[in-house]
Homo-oligomer: 181 residues x 4
């Protein structure tokens, strides 16, 4: 459908079997009918260096930025690394932020942790940075999944309660996006 | 002198003319007599990916970690990117954190911003992550330099007040380190 | 005018000559034509204690909550006390939060500090708590006033640049509120 | 014993059946032999108002400050109210902070939440404020208790794992305090 909401999503972990990549895939499956979610790969986005900008963005950055520029909304799947967001995820944001590209873009975060506490510290930092950039961060509902490893089987989100939370957040996100059109 | 304190420092910006690299150089010059500060280059530390660890750390990471492992203390020069620490700096920490390497290491942050507010948001996030890792972060004095660009000439910190603040922080840091020996 | 936006504002400092009370008064004066700002006094809101709720809210809390319940938007003037928001301001929020009263309410923060750094740590914490509550916090523009004491004369905001920033934030806030109607 | 460590503790909740008051009582019981913990009541500490200081601190504040001034270390039991520390707890800190009373004091936080996530947001904010004040916050181990209500029976901490965590943190705190003597 040409008038579906065009949402992009990316995960803050680069490893092959990343739970947060699986979470993005779950979001793709659980999105409401009027929303299409595209999973963007950030593994080839280089380390940010302002000197690299002088002749234009590196090709993988340019492609990444174009996807975001054309989107109606952004989903960040945020693992917790050392009590904050992963460097690789913040690095992707640092490239995207140039020229005000992220300002006023509707957005949400979701995430979890293998432990008991759900990785909320990471999402808190990520959301502060997003607010600083003027992104329209939907405040609630939030997704913080404890014991995240137990919720997936063969790469698929199988925990019914968590599936419900993700579906509900995405439903609300569709409404949130529509407020800014 | 064989019994000088061996402190390592690195900056969260990769560009050639980085003000935070200049700040590390100023710290080297302003360190007390009993402290030697080595400036570590993080530009060749790759994006963190847990899959890369399976056969041992990549060579630049291994070298970087060895320097930190042999140190008595750590200085982070923290620019503010988008209301938080740079992705490249957090990425370096994500590599260093593996195996508990950073726990119980005395450490400080310093930084500034070109604008009026001194980049305190970045240092706040950095310090939260460092505390999470169990690092012994010296709480005060802190260095948050507003209008940072005006404080350097030809790569050298020339603002006398700022030089005094940095020298004082390093003096206190030497005492702080000695508490944990 | 019956269809003006009805905005309430309160300051996180109780002292008579509070700069943040003066800032609220400046906001009243600088509000756009379609917005009326009422300055609420929080000095008689008691310390939060859940035991006090069992027979209904204390009278000053009830009156305060009624004002907020009837509002179209909320402005918090946030001083920085000890690197965070004042206890008295958070205490007021703790009372207001009961029963979900604050969820989905459009809101902004503004503030400053006598020193160089503008008190941004306080607003960061306040905004995190507001987002946690599901408030619709306008991300930008923000107001962080350094050397705040120099910007007021005889209780009046006289610094022209700061007056412009406040007027612009309020203008944008009116648009932000309208997105959620 | 005259040379026991003299530690003071207070909880951020005023209600009679506060879980965090119970947690302080558990800490009293689980303290190592060389540490005495005194539970301070903050219910009569008034709302902070700088105007009240002009003729000296109010009597309950003066008494509270004297206890802290005579202590070797400070324990804060931190509930999470609305994604941050309670206003009443921050208010107590705002009074204690005057005149630099808190600087360089060894300290820890502990806390939990009735829900799954352990109330870490509250302790993060509290620790940032404490670091800002120059307090010597022990970084690890931390205590964040999920499903806190299930861990107590008749006012007593009965969960063995949690008892072990608290005892271990206090043991480490004793060592931490000794570093600063």
């Amino acid at each position: 459908m040409e008038n579906k909401l065009n949402v992009v999503a990316f995960a803050g972990s680069l490893r092959e079997q990343s739970l947060h990549k699986m979470l993005v895939n779950a979001a793709k499956e659980l999105a409401p009918d009027n929303m299409n979610i595209e999973h963007l790969d950030i593994s080839n986005v280089p380390l940010f260096n302002a000197d690299l900008e002088t002749d234009g963005f590196p090709a993988p950055v340019e492609a990444f930025r174009n996807k975001v520029a054309a989107s109606d909304g952004i989903i960040l799947a945020v693992p917790e690394y050392n009590g904050s967001m992963p460097g690789v995820l913040k690095n992707a944001i640092d490239w995207l932020s140039r020229g005000g590209l992220l300002a006023k873009r509707p957005s949400i975060t979701m995430g979890g942790s293998p432990g008991a506490l759900g990785g909320t510290k990471a999402q808190e930092h990520m959301r502060q940075s997003m607010m600083h950039l003027g992104m329209y961060v939907m405040p609630r509902p939030t997704i913080a999944i404890p014991q995240m490893g137990n919720k997936f089987t063969d790469g698929k989100l199988v925990d019914e309660a968590t599936r419900g939370f993700v579906a509900q957040q995405l439903q609300e996100f569709g409404i949130w996006i529509s407020r800014f059109n």
